[in-house]
Structures are given as C-alpha cells and as structure tokens.
Symmetry: C2
Subunit: 156 residues, 2 copies
DNA sequence: TCCGTGAGTTGGAAAATCAAACCCTCCCCT
DNA sequence: AGGGGAGGGTTTGATTTTCCAACTCACGGA
C-alpha cells in the first residue's frame, strides 16, 4: 500500500527533478541560443555564479548539456545542449508562447523566434496521431499504477 | 545601458517566475487531473503542507488557479485551473513526453493520457504557420531589445 | 463526549540562495 | 619583468527557503 509520503509516480515530476530547479531552464534557453560560456550565462540569466556552477554540473550529469573546451591554453569551456537538451526546446517554446500571451498580451515581445518557413514561430502542441491541437477537454488520464486515481471528468 | 545584473528580458523567465517554483507545476498537474483539494495535493505531490499553501496562494494570485468552496458548513475548498491554467497543460504534456522518452525509454509509463481521437496522446510541438514539428535547426531567435545577442547559428 | 476529516498555521532545525570577494591560469602590453 | 585584463570558477558569511512534525479550528458522526 501507498506509504505515507510517496508522491504519484510521474514523468513530469521526473523531468522537473532534472530541469525544474531555479535557473535550469534559463540555462537551457541560453545554451540553445548559443550562449554557452560561463560569463555569458551569468550575465544573461542573472544567477549567482555558485548556483550556476551547481546547475551546470547537474545538467551535464543528467545528459542535458555537455561541457567542451573551445580553447586549450588558455583552457576555456563552453556548454552545449545534447540531443536530449535540444529536445527540451519545444518545452521552452511552449512556455514562451504562454508567457507572451498571458503575461504580455502578445504585444511588446522581448524576443521573436522565426521558423524556417519564414513566419514567426507560434508553437502549437498537437496530438501526433490526429494532428489536432491539444485541449484539456479532449484528454483522459489513465494512471498505470495502483492506488492512483484522477477525479472524474472535468466538470464546469 | 545594461547595468550589471539585469538579466535578459524573456517570457520564459516571466512564466517561470509564476510556475517555476518547486511543486508549482505538479500542483497544476493534479488540479488538471481534477484533484484540487488540499489533502489530495499533499498526498499526490508529496510536498510539505506549508509550502503547498504558499504555492497555492501564489498561483491563485497569478490567475492560474481559482479557489472555490465545494461545501459551506463545513467549509471545504477546492482549487481549479483557470483558462490560463488550462493553457499550461500543453507545457505539462510536452514535459511528460520528454520525461517518458528520455527518463524511461518510453516504456513502463506511470501514466498514459488518451486523446479524444482514441489514441494515446503523444504531443508534438508544431509551427502554427506551417504545421511542421519544431526542431532546433529550424529556429532563429531575434531579440527585440538592444544589447541582447545570440551567438551565431548552431554549429555542429 | 470523543474521534476523524479537511484545510490549513506555527516553530525550529536543515538546506539552498545570494552577493561579494577571492583565486588561478593564461594572454597581451609595455 | 611587471601590470592588467578575461575566463571560469570557488569560498565565505549572511539571508531565505525548505522541511517536518505538531498544532489549531470548525465541523460532523457514533
């Protein structure tokens, strides 16, 4: 039986255990932008240097980033996203879109991302099977482990 | 000019200021699942009660959740997502998909979400204009404020 | 009256964050 | 040969957060 204090098993929680600490996703943002050097990260993110050092170690350990020298003598390093890291970029873009819309009314955006198709990227999360945009009302959750439930369908 | 210690203006950072604290996105997960009562949240998330209370206040203030009584006498409350909250669900689903794939090899998933189309939901982030899946190589960032740069195109 | 449930609040110890200063290695300039 | 950066961190000490357990308060039921 579920002992007191064991949370729902969940990939969202697992993912957040990797990239959910303060600044981690901002590190990923900068690294995806190509700004992977320590001092760039400090400046662009505004994080304390020691915290940043900790986050970078963790993200490298987790396989989201790699650390590579872009110069021996003097040794200088740069962090880059791994494949797994790059595949988090859609999460960032989706979060950006939410922020653009809900926190800035979609105007005065501090950053615009252009898609290769020539238009501004406005990400839409869709169902791979049917291609429709994902809406809450269209989803049904099925926990696979026993003891974990979801409360009935979304009432009004 | 950019004073020392002002970070890049960015909707991702702004969004994370709302939902980026520890447990906040897990609260949203549970609330989207319909488990919006305080004790359910404590149990399913595994967060300390006081921290949870703080998070809930913040999320309500930010307009992501609402608190409503589902019973007067005895007073009992339930948290529900607002429209803005519901629109964060795609972020959660995208994060879940990343976790499923990178942290569990896509097997033994603790939770499966079914789309109304009848298939398992596997979210894909696409470009609204052209419909293509978002890939890092297809993106170009354009900061709109002066002083902020991105370092050249993604090298190999 | 006593017990249990829901929804928190309180108190104190443990851990994480922050800012500033420091360190080390190298390069360049004179 | 000396001085001054730059880059990439680490150290130190004060401030905040977290964490956990215990406590509260308002009911409702046996």
């Amino acid at each position: 039986m579920a002992a007191p204090k064991d949370p729902r098993p969940c990939s969202i929680a697992d993912a957040l255990a990797i990239v959910g600490e303060k600044y981690s996703l901002l590190v990923l943002r900068e690294v995806c932008l190509g700004n992977g050097r320590f001092d760039q990260l400090v400046r662009n993110i505004g994080a304390p240097r020691d915290v940043l050092a900790t986050r970078l170690r963790r993200l490298v350990d987790a396989g989201v980033l790699t650390k590579r020298a872009y110069s021996e003598r003097p040794q200088r390093f740069e962090y880059r996203p791994t494949q797994a890291g790059l595949e988090l970029e859609p999460v960032l873009m989706t979060l950006k879109e939410w922020g653009d819309r809900h926190l800035r009314n979609g105007t005065d955006l501090p950053m615009v991302v252009e898609h290769i198709c020539g238009n501004e990227l406005i990400p839409v999360v869709t169902c791979r099977s049917c291609g429709a945009p994902v809406r809450h009302e269209d989803l049904t959750a099925h926990p696979q482990a026993e003891g974990w439930t979801v409360s009935g369908p979304t009432a009004a």
